[in-house]
């Protein structure tokens, strides 16, 4: 499938009371349509700030550098790092959409969920008549596997369970794309099974299942997996949970103190992790087996006081003198697998992927 997102050396700088900090530091990523990239990091790693940069939702005063090129099908590539607000308004919700951890805070509590999805559609299809809008609202709910869409669309968020609310958020995120005019030429009932319903779009999911029970989480992860394959979505799935990443992602990027420290196929990175931070994160993740838990010593460094070399060096169990000298380059650690650690093989001069 075609390349959807190409992020090259993206930086985000934020003004704080203690001066400028850089929560996103020369991050490079690629996502193709239909692919799923898991972005793993702990709090303060910069993963959410990266997502906000890709949604044009950075806090006021933030500065971005580098580029993040989004290439929607049949449309000109757009550098998301350099868009003005009027162009963002046309893009956001159509070519790139986001779902959040706690759907209750993103849904309007006093508006029926169907009306909220309709708003998301009308923001991009201003001339669509009410009947069509309603049809696409129901279609979006159906795609998000909401049972009895006609009934649910008339309910308020508080009448829905946490899992259903997250499904409504997903419906809202894909709704404007569902009603892509090029698709409307094929009426619902005549559509061939498996025919893509939307143009390729980027869906950013920021800890979408963290607040949910495990059994509900499993269903939502399955839904996102089905949707990205059926609709050709590029999925950027942000989480702190390596188990969730193993379930939803093809590739995984591990972020620490603003930088991607390891990236590769999910089986490789979780199976043969090469960066000491990734290794530590895996050892610190509880499993059903007792007695193997090993925490990482120390805490995540403050962005305002990053060490000069490798950010993980102060906590690293295998650090060397040269780790303090300079930030390590991304080095090849396997097939399409790289790690930012001096202990890893050869330096990558070319782009990894």
């Amino acid at each position: 499938m075609s390349e959807l997102l190409n992020v090259r050396a993206l930086t985000v700088d934020l003004p704080t009371a203690r001066g400028w900090v850089r929560p996103v530091n020369e991050v490079s990523l690629r996502i193709r349509a239909g692919d799923s990239l898991g972005l793993v990091g702990e709090s303060g790693s910069g993963k959410t700030m990266l997502a906000l940069a890709l949604m044009g939702l950075l806090p006021p005063g933030a500065k971005t550098g580098g580029e993040a090129v989004l290439t929607p099908a049949n449309a000109e590539p757009q550098n998301l790092a350099r868009l003005d607000e009027s162009r963002w308004r046309r893009l956001r919700g159509l070519d790139v959409a986001m779902i959040f951890q706690e759907p209750m805070t993103s849904l309007n509590p006093v508006m029926r969920v169907g009306d909220q999805i309709a708003e998301a559609i009308q923001a991009h299809h201003t001339k669509m008549n009410a009947q069509d809008v309603h049809r696409w609202v129901l279609e979006a709910l159906r795609l998000a596997a909401v049972p009895e869409p006609a009934i649910r669309s008339k309910q308020f968020p508080h009448q829905l369970s946490g899992g259903l609310r997250q499904r409504v958020m997903i419906a809202m995120a894909i709704a404007a794309g569902v009603s892509d005019p090029s698709v409307e030429t094929t009426p619902l009932e005549h559509r061939v099974a498996g025919e893509p319903l939307t143009k390729p779009r980027l869906l950013i999911a920021d800890e979408p299942t963290t607040a949910l029970d495990v059994t509900v989480q499993k269903q939502i992860l399955e839904l996102l997996d089905t949707l990205r394959r059926r609709l050709g979505l590029g999925l950027l799935f942000i989480t702190h949970d390596l188990g969730v990443v193993a379930r939803v992602a093809d590739r995984v990027a591990v972020m620490y103190a603003g930088r991607i420290v390891e990236e590769g196929p999910v089986g490789e990175v979780l199976g043969v992790p090469r960066h000491p931070y990734t290794q530590g994160l895996i050892a610190a993740s509880p499993t059903l087996v007792r007695g193997k838990l090993a925490p990482i010593a120390g805490t995540v460094p403050q962005l305002s006081a990053l060490p000069p070399g490798c950010s993980f060096e102060p906590r690293c169990p295998v650090r060397l003198p040269q780790c303090q000298a300079a930030v390590p380059e991304l080095r090849a650690a396997g097939y399409m697998h790289g790690a930012r650690c001096v202990l890893v093989g050869e330096e990558v001069t070319q782009d990894l992927r």
């Binding site: 495990v214 089986g267 530590g280 993740s285 509880p286």
Partner: protein, 271 residues
């Protein structure tokens, strides 16, 4: 052969229900009741970790609070260290509480933001050992903070100056300063990052053997529970559906719901 030593905690037929859709605007005051805890019985031996696992709304937090009588049950009995808790008056209950302390999920919400950490940790001493001098109280606060991994400079700082993991350590220090016998821990690591959560779990493990603590450990996460539990109770809709040795429940579950929970745990090795 066994059971010569009486258990530390014995719970018999605890129940608690609430009026469904209650509040001042409830149309039907005599309507159906929501059963949060339904006829739950168990015993906890000294030094063991009894874990209660379940999904949101299963009643596990209500159960935890009933054990300390922070919530009054509708019926049932709680025998703690040979004393019938439900029979205790207010003053007796208060002195009994120094033996049983709680650690909460949210280290951000459970510490008074206007108090210095030294005061927060020393407060239980001021309540239960009022004759202790200020100097002694500060010494004991500093010692317990040291033990949970915080330097003595923590004493004069405020909660907001600490990270989530450090705040949870403050909560643990406060719970431990009276040398309780029982700790009820309600989701103590679920608000923490993975690497920090692992630190806190291992700290709880160390403190247990060092102080001879008994834990009732409440969690939604089977992997977290697997690290500490000697026995596990799986709770659903107010009742225990399965109770057994940790190894048994985790690796040879008998109840369908336990199997469903286990299969929903995302494993690192992939789906």
């Amino acid at each position: 052969m066994e059971d010569v030593i009486p258990s530390l905690l014995e719970v018999r037929a605890l129940s608690k229900s609430y009026r469904r859709g209650g509040g001042a605007f409830a149309r039907d005051a005599e309507g159906a009741r929501f059963v949060a805890v339904n006829n739950v019985s168990f015993t906890v031996a000294r030094g063991e970790t009894f874990a209660v696992v379940g999904e949101s709304g299963c009643g596990k937090t209500t159960l935890a609070r009933i054990l300390l009588r922070l919530i009054e049950p509708d019926g049932g009995a709680i025998v703690f260290d040979g004393r019938e808790l439900m029979a205790l008056g207010r003053a007796e209950l208060r002195s009994q509480r120094r033996e049983m302390q709680m650690i909460f999920q949210d280290p951000f919400a459970s510490l008074d933001p206007r108090m210095r950490v030294g005061e927060i940790v020393g407060e239980p001493l001021a309540v239960h050992e009022p004759k202790l001098s200020g100097t002694m109280r500060r010494e004991r606060s500093a010692a317990i903070l040291e033990r949970v991994g915080l330097g003595s400079d923590a004493m004069r700082r405020y909660p907001h100056e600490f990270s989530g993991g450090q705040r949870q350590r403050i909560g643990i220090a406060r719970a431990l300063i009276l040398r309780p016998k029982l700790i009820v821990a309600d989701e103590p690591v679920s608000a923490l990052d993975v690497s920090v959560g692992a630190q806190v779990l291992l700290l709880l493990q160390e403190l247990q053997s060092e102080f001879g603590l008994t834990y009732v450990f409440i969690s939604h996460s089977l992997p977290v529970v697997a690290q500490l539990a000697t026995r596990i109770a799986v709770m659903r809709a107010g009742s225990f559906v399965e109770v057994g040795e940790a190894e048994q429940v985790l690796h040879h579950p008998t109840h369908e719901y336990t199997r469903e929970l286990l299969s929903a745990v995302p494993a690192l090795s992939g789906a």
